[in-house]
Symmetry: C2
Subunit: 294 residues, 2 copies
Amino acid sequence: MNNSEQPVIAVIGLGLLGASLGMALRGGAYRRSGWTRRPNIRRWALDCDVLDETCDDIESVLNRADLTLIALPIPEILHYLKQYAHAWRPGTVVTDLGSVKSCVMEAAAEHLAPRGVHFVGSHPMAGTEKSGPESAFPELYGNADVFVCPFPDSPAFAVEQVEALWRSIGTRTTRIDAKRHDDLVAHTSHVLHIVASALALSVLGAPDAQTRAERFAGCATGFRDTSRIASSNPLMWREIVEHNRPAVLAAMRDFEEKYDSFKRMIESGDFDRFEREFAQGKLLRDSWVEYKNR
Amino acid sequence: MNNSEQPVIAVIGLGLLGASLGMALRGGAYRRSGWTRRPNIRRWALDCDVLDETCDDIESVLNRADLTLIALPIPEILHYLKQYAHAWRPGTVVTDLGSVKSCVMEAAAEHLAPRGVHFVGSHPMAGTEKSGPESAFPELYGNADVFVCPFPDSPAFAVEQVEALWRSIGTRTTRIDAKRHDDLVAHTSHVLHIVASALALSVLGAPDAQTRAERFAGCATGFRDTSRIASSNPLMWREIVEHNRPAVLAAMRDFEEKYDSFKRMIESGDFDRFEREFAQGKLLRDSWVEYKNR
């Protein structure tokens, strides 16, 4: 730990998630250090009380950190773990907030573990369809669930440091192993983005101008919400799906099973069953809403 | 027209849509009459300034109306058009707000046209996943698009009366024929409900308790919005899909084409194309958001 009384957390990357975390940590237990590639965003972070300190040189930031959180896209997390492994002090703890965990844990096992740097993955279930520091806000993580992915041999103190970070901003943590996590989020998040995008394309991408004008007028709040995440960052979602292919394809098959079943009921005219299935979906979703509002 | 200076509009059915319309028409050009099956809801409507007048007897309400709006589920619209055709005065205008228009227009042609009662269909693109008078609010129709479906031989004054009603509460109207309307809303609304329900079922309906608990924790705002309309009324959506089968199946095929195309890109590893397609969906949706906020 550094000379001051507060542990130093380094937030690497100040996009929507990193900058919102800096904001959420205001007045908390940590001294907030951090770094991002663009110097003007580093200055903005100091000016707007997103960070307490920064440095032009990422290696100095990492070296000073008791706890590091890498808030970057998946390919960059993989790159930074390799490129800057030497910069962390042995015994310090590193986490991330990537949407896919297996590939990140593999990179951490290869590059960080041999140096005695403890990696514990994180994935907060929070975000919007927007990106960049200009979209950040301190309440982004409010009431979120956060998955924490230790290695089987992670020391307890490292896992607890990461959990303590997340709990300090009011989120709930659940421990889960990386592969199980990746299967899970393929269902609860990744497949939704593919479906939302396919809906946006099939509803709004009409062949002629009149139909397109009518489709634009014919979409209302149902479309707005169902398709919202189709407005997400294409490169980010390409990278997430690309790094979680088998799990995403499995989640797609689960969706197709339910979808195809509805289709067969409509084709065969079995609307009693259609109504029962739809009611079952409503029951499940209503109980999820209750769970989230608890 | 009745003795008072204001034309009388009769709102039949005081669920989410009917009651919200009564609220939206407060202080407007119409004397608001209305009827619904349950006497306590009729009393509530008077107490809460949803209607100016009502009557225990629906036929008296219809007979006094210059313009009638039937705000009931599809099967009941069909039933009321047949059952109460004799109650309207010839020359008066009737509209509805059913989500499917072809079957309603056929019933109106059969039962109302021979009596000189003018039917012009309406479909406001407004609603929530809730239902019932307790969910009503005066802003429900704010900024909505409303499709108005005349017959080829509808008199201009009848169409204009219906359009004037909708414009008086700040909505935009578009004329469209019934079949084209039904194809349209199959895409912009009906298919979304099937997809949302299939997502809720496949994401939350996990086989074992641990997976289900993790799935509940793993769903966040993306799931909340993508699946919101899965919480809609199962009977109502059964009836809508049941009365618009061929168009719904066609809209499903259009969705599947885009979905299957994403799936093939993921299977074959063509992520450059995945990113381009996702970007195209984002572009379309972002331009729709701009259109809606204009």
